[in-house]
């Protein structure tokens, strides 16, 4: 492969990985800290995408969409946690799977009833319009670079909050020993709601930010859900750092898989996950046992 194009493919892989991280970060938070398998995580991504479509169709601006849509998504996460998820904390994983699966069905139907089944587009914000010329045939959309930038900022923000703030400390402690944290006077219930709502918000934000790139249509939630789980598992459940590395790995594997081994490209991501799990059964940075 031509070195220039090799580098561009690396860029493609990294950029895709960063976006995947944004989507998966919410899942690893909810899964790692709340110990809840939320199959409806992809649905929050879809909610974000449709909110972006709805707001930009009316206001013409993605900024307004994010400003308006994000609080709505957080509120939705809040409501769902209070109404349903909090009953799942003591239940086993399978029950969580079943209930959140029911949620997916409801979300999908609601989407179909409200928005219909046609594909929709969301326009790129004006300052990010246009592309940078890389070679005589290939240009790189500026918006993609902007999205990568946003993801990087969010990574750093998340790591900062989790590692360096008191809130992050409570969250980490709560994931290890819920009762102890409660005895220490922290309202674990509120903490859980906050974590879940944040997870939902992150997924929705990813949906909004990615909408101009991926177009908005039914089913985008399910497709992204599987990849999210793969990333969370490769990285190790509950580890933001792990999810970040895993997302980059998956992005690169997917990109190079398509180009280098197209015959097996469909399986490349799963093969990577299988290989890693067989080497380190708890994922890259997961807690052993």
């Amino acid at each position: 492969m031509d070195p220039v194009f090799f580098l561009i493919q690396v860029l493609n892989g990294v950029q895709y990985g960063l976006l995947l991280f944004l989507i998966a970060s919410g899942l690893t938070l909810v899964f790692g800290i709340l110990q809840v398998i939320n199959l409806a995580h992809g649905s929050f991504y879809m909610v974000g995408a449709y909110l972006a479509f709805w707001f930009t169709a009316r206001s013409g601006s993605l900024w307004i969409a994010i400003l308006g849509g994000l609080p709505l998504a957080l509120a939705l996460g809040f409501v769902i946690e209070r109404l349903m998820i909090r009953f799942l904390y003591r239940r086993d994983h399978l029950t969580q799977v079943l209930l959140t699966y029911g949620l997916i069905l409801i979300f999908n139907e609601a989407q179909r009833i409200i928005f219909g089944s046609d594909p929709h587009s969301v326009t790129v914000p004006q300052i990010f319009e246009g592309s940078i010329r890389l070679t005589d045939t290939l240009s790189y959309p500026i918006y993609r670079l902007a999205v990568s930038g946003v993801c990087l900022i969010l990574v750093m923000a998340m790591i900062f909050v989790i590692q360096k703030t008191r809130l992050g400390m409570y969250v980490r402690a709560g994931s290890v020993n819920r009762e102890m944290v409660q005895l220490l006077g922290v309202d674990v219930g509120q903490l859980s709601t906050l974590v879940f709502a944040t997870g939902a918000g992150l997924a929705a934000l990813a949906g909004m930010v990615a909408a101009p790139l991926s177009s908005v249509y039914p089913g985008i939630g399910e497709h992204i859900l599987i990849i999210c789980f793969v990333i969370v598992v490769i990285g190790g459940i509950g580890s933001i750092k792990g999810a970040f590395i895993a997302a980059l790995l998956v992005g690169l594997a997917d990109t190079f898989g398509k180009v280098v081994v197209p015959e097996f490209a469909s399986m490349s991501v799963y093969a990577v996950m299988a290989a890693i799990l067989l080497w380190r059964p708890q994922g890259l940075f997961g807690r052993a046992g």
Binding site: T95, L105, F229
Partner: protein
């Protein structure tokens, strides 16, 4: 898994007897619908053995169902049906071998990692069949002639006859249930249950936990392939989506819905899932939402699945409720 409570066992027996008479009075459509439900029940029971029996939650179990379906296609010559006497055992054996190979890798992990690993293998098999023209591609393959049940040159049964296929499915379903029951009562089964309850202790007692898990994984795979074989016999068309995680998720739903504590749970789940969907579809166009709500309600109100309903409806409970109410 606990012993089936008396009332549940009697209800199940009554249901089987009712099913036995179904072809006499029901429309052809319902005969083939219940045939489908019964092959789903076998599939669900095979997963139930893994999940409730051994504690291994697989999100890729459909890969063995799909394998069973596709193997029937490969074993069927183009101009006549395959002889069931060898086609069915060969299918189950091949699936068991595939399960041993995949299980050898997968069973080394546990919990959520096992779930994801089985998912990964399932998806890899899906793409293998979906992407490859040789294996049929995305539009699937066909069975031109159904398997023959013949001996000494004469046809014993014609699987083209719907009631006949129905009874074959019924017999196989009951046999699967009884077979799993016997397995779990045998020393092997007791060890499996012990592993689910406390793996560490079993290891300490000297059991080769890995080997036991591997064998039960293979048995479950073979049974799933049996269900797939039945499916392909009934419909004669197979598609790679049979391998997909959606199908694996669906059968897992049946097992959970029916109840993880009951050996009848998976079968109950299979019947309930399909029949509730049929009923909802008859009533409203937006049945998917109603179904989603149904699932959520069951989860929140019946932590042990639908099988729990029977426990709640025992005579003394009903009497108590009548007194209280």
């Amino acid at each position: 898994m606990s012993r089936t409570p008396r009332i549940l066992a009697w209800t199940a027996l009554a249901a089987v007897i009712l099913l036995a008479f179904l072809p006499q009075f029901a429309d052809r459509y319902y005969i083939q619908l219940f045939t489908r439900i019964m092959s789903s029940a076998i599939f669900a029971m095979s997963l139930g053995l893994l999940v409730s029996g051994a504690g291994l939650v697989s999100l890729g179990h459909a890969m063995f169902f799909g394998l069973g379906a596709y193997l029937l296609v490969f074993f069927s010559p183009g101009d006549e049906g395959a002889a069931i006497w060898w086609a069915l055992p060969a299918t189950m054996a091949a699936a068991a071998i595939a399960a041993l190979i995949i299980g050898a890798l997968a069973v080394r992990t546990s919990g959520i990692y096992f779930i994801m690993l089985t998912l990964a293998f399932g998806e890899m098999l899906f793409y293998l069949f979906h992407d490859s023209k040789l294996l049929g591609g995305s539009d699937g393959l066909y069975v031109n002639f159904r398997p023959t049940v013949a001996a000494f040159g004469r046809d014993l049964l014609s699987l083209d006859d719907r009631p006949t296929l129905f009874y074959v499915a019924l017999v196989l379903m009951v046999a699967t249930y009884l077979g799993i029951g016997m397995l779990l009562k045998a020393p092997f089964g007791r060890a499996i249950l012990g592993i689910r309850v406390n793996e560490q202790r079993m290891k300490a007692l000297g059991y080769n936990v890995y080997a036991y898990k591997l064998v039960v994984f293979a048995i479950a795979g073979a049974l799933a392939a049996l269900a797939g074989f039945l499916y392909a016999t009934q419909y004669r068309s197979v598609n790679p989506v049979l391998f997909s995680w959606r199908e694996s998720g669906l059968v897992l739903m049946m097992v959970i819905l029916g109840g993880l504590r009951s050996r009848l749970g998976p079968a109950i789940g299979a019947f309930a899932l399909v029949l509730v969907q049929e009923a909802l579809q008859a009533v409203t166009d937006d049945w998917l939402i109603a179904f989603g709500v149904f699932v959520i309600v069951v989860v929140l109100l019946l932590p042990n699945g639908l099988a729990e309903l029977a426990g709640k409806l025992t005579p003394d409970r009903l009497a108590k409720a009548a007194n209280d109410g």
